[in-house]
Symmetry: D2
Subunit: 292 residues, 4 copies
């Protein structure tokens, strides 16, 4: 399918604020970026680098006052995600070197503390794909989706306890439970067609049978038409924006639409969001405010 997807972020900076942006999807397995637009207002110097996970990151210093980012892309996506019931567990000794670190615990994924729960959920389950799917299904059925019940510091152990959260929390829990079984798992952030309500989204991938498979604990069915923007260990690595200073996100719009006869942007229906609903997509880091 051809999708037009994008977002608009309107910030107000209380002073010059360094930002790292991670909004630019890369062409790769399962998606091809046909068109891309990226505008920052006011115009400031931007430099780009590739992080340890291969994500394209942009660095800017937002000046004091309003600061807006507009990103949109036309992307060819896969209509279906691969599913592979019964696909075997990949033993640790056969994992590629650069996949190994996805077995380790990380900030929001304390896999070292969730071994018992993982074992319970996957009891009598064949090692591999079926374990990851059992985890996904368990979360989908046992964790309630509700905005406002978690924040940027919520981690998988809390979600396992409170059994409520948003896509970020579902994802952290899924990752942690897979890693507790020595299944490498990573966080993916991006867009999902027909997500309701529309928003930036997060899901996870698990590595079994020699490759990554997509799992989304917020959905009842496996669905395709996803646009991957970034990969990482957890939300600390893949925030769409990481800000180093006092800056308010006043408004955010996200859209994902099919490319129709009128070719796109005019046909978009924007999902307006209030910044309070999206704590999980923005890192706000540190207080070394050198600008006072």
């Amino acid at each position: 399918m051809h999708l037009n997807a994008g977002c608009e972020l309107l910030f107000e900076a209380q002073g010059p604020t360094p930002l790292i942006l991670m909004l630019r999807p890369r062409s790769g397995a399962g998606q091809w970026i046909i068109r891309e637009e990226y505008q920052i207002t006011p115009a400031v110097n931007v430099t780009e680098f590739t992080d340890m996970y291969g994500n394209l990151c942009q660095r800017v210093v937002a000046p004091e006052g309003p600061f807006s980012i507009h990103f949109s892309a036309t992307v060819q996506t896969a209509d279906f995600i691969d599913v592979s019931p019964g696909a075997p567990y990949t033993p640790v000794e056969d994992l590629p070197d650069d996949v190994l670190h996805y077995t380790l615990p990380s900030r929001y994924c304390q896999s070292d503390q969730l071994g018992n729960l993982a074992a319970q959920i996957t009891e009598n389950t064949e090692p591999g794909y079926n374990q990851a799917e059992a985890i996904r299904k368990w979360i989908n059925e046992n964790v309630r989706y509700e905005y406002g019940t978690s924040d940027a510091s919520t981690s998988a152990v809390e979600t396992a306890d409170k059994r409520v959260g948003v896509c970020r929390d579902f994802t952290h829990l899924g990752i942690s439970l897979c890693r507790a079984l020595n299944i490498p798992a990573r966080m993916v952030v991006g867009y999902l067609y027909q997500l309701n309500p529309m928003d930036l989204h997060a899901w996870f991938e698990a590595y079994v049978d020699g490759r990554w498979f997509t799992f989304d604990a917020t959905q009842q069915q496996a669905r395709g038409n996803r646009i991957t923007v970034a990969y990482g260990r957890d939300a600390a690595d893949v925030a769409f924006t990481t800000q180093f200073g006092p800056m308010t996100l006043n408004e955010m719009k996200v859209w994902v639409d099919t490319v129709g006869p009128d070719e796109g942007e005019n046909a978009m229906t924007d999902a307006e969001k209030n910044s309070e609903d999206v704590p999980t997509l923005v890192n706000s880091i540190g207080s070394n405010d050198q600008t006072e």
Copy 2:
């Protein structure tokens, strides 16, 4: 100074167990590896890779039964570490791309939750080196060093609360407090000459004034003659051994000695240790026991 340093680890594996070892120091700033020996018994296939932080890692599968690792090296070290009171804070926008991620929270370093404590400790302190040193000093004076008070899951938030721990905990807290001030900080593991009691050691580095500086909250004075073995965000990244399965560390010896007239190993005084004392140097991950 020329040091002979090394360790011997005696394991008992309950079944074939994949291991990642990180025991091999690299020559680099401040140290030169003159001689190195690395033996594994029984002999098994070993492959080596470089991780995301530049550390040399070895992968093995320990067979069921006893498994031992003997590593030793002769290293030229710097007698003093650089100190630089007053060295200025490096603004986030001036950090090198590959240093940026050391500002982010990680598994054991929840810097996003320790902003208030960091602000208190560094009140009226000049941004930069002096902040990192104030943090180091505060930890040294306010956290009690005691074996057995923490374990492999202890993180900086708990240490800030309980104010007791070992070198790993001191280090996690120091890193977290620096990051809370937007000062990049990373964990270092290795050897320290005349550490008492002798053990594998951990400390941290903070990035100010355009470079990394060494800080060790377990010591009252800045001391040199360190051998760096690995760098990472926190203990999840730099465990000397990460094991994926049931395996017991029965005995560990660590030694660091000056190279004297008899040239080394014979002169070593071993510090024998019981595995219960060193939970923090070994990752034990996951329960996907495919070997049953």
Copy 3:
């Protein structure tokens, strides 16, 4: 300045032909990609990777028959390039690790054989920027620009001898002469506003005074408004397309225009080119024709 730049390549493949494309500029120092479009006809699977130099590369297998690539972008460029007469030579021992390999000879830049010429040209010239500029000026004044006088196998030693060539040859010679003086030099390919005749272009960068500077031996004056597409040691690394099999480039259009009141593409004046004129931008590699 805001530029609309792009190219269209029309191929005819005699059989399924693997291709590596390097057409996608990255945002970075001196340029910001505001908009980008990339279309391949017929639609085939494309995967993308980042090469050793940081370039974004796309891999496709062109099916038998016509195959076309259309790329366009709107890019904010710098109106001027930095010049710095008198900027000092950076001693080899002070070069960053990842710049060192740009001192070595490469396929088309046999710097090891051009030491005498480099010494002659830069006699009595202050080490550093002035040497690179003396080299650029000498090439501009002593090598004749003429299409059809060189081909894809022409290297710097031949150009030094025959003193005729195109932008690729000027660039290889400039790079080789710099490297012969231990000045790191690399090839840049991309677009240049108001190049006449319009074409894909190549120039070089030399590393002095701790940073890269732009030099273009085909131009009498230093000119800005360049769009960098890729960096590498020489043309072997940075061909816009590298094909592995029998495939004919039938037509190529290249355009670079200012963004005017009608915002772009309609206003483009295409410079149509015949494939015979552009041997240097296309690698045609090997004859292991498995498709027969």
Copy 4:
């Protein structure tokens, strides 16, 4: 087999001379470094980095006067190299991303000019392993091994023409002919047990059937017990020493011995060599002599 291998290089520097050294083998597939010693006299600061190919490189500035390097290692090696007659060609579209660049021509391997010879040699040969072996055999039978017939600037095209050279030339020709058939090929430098006369050695690897295989055109039979020190495109990448300034190699010793009852070094029989015989192992680059 357990081998003791090493080399001693005695230089005389006419002034302070930056050097890059590549003498330290890495543990990896087929070899395990049990013991390693590395000494430089006089003692100077050394820093180490990993290059684009994964090789460990050391940077030093040799002071004016005598400068010596002593390296030795005890290495567990494989007694046999893998051979796989009939193993299939890996199509370009199936090559891993990081193998692709080994299909491109490089400084001493002008594969773009040797397509006809490659086609002749491999006529009626099954694509893949058999082609690489046909090339190896053809070189072994048609190129004469003779010291002093080539130098540091000799490339594969010349060797194909003159049909005489040393291991470096044999290797460059083998690599070029493989690449001309779209078979990725890379240079390996290191030690070979029972090489006669003993010397630092070079051979090549070709990528077929999804992995690298070892080929040595200087040998009549496939032989194991090799110690790999470095990989690269050709000799420009993998010189044991690359010097940037006037420096003379006065003496070089190389040894490779089995570890016997007296455990090694005493039992070594040194192969003393004159620097004139080893032009191919040392890069001497550039003339920007800033030290006068």
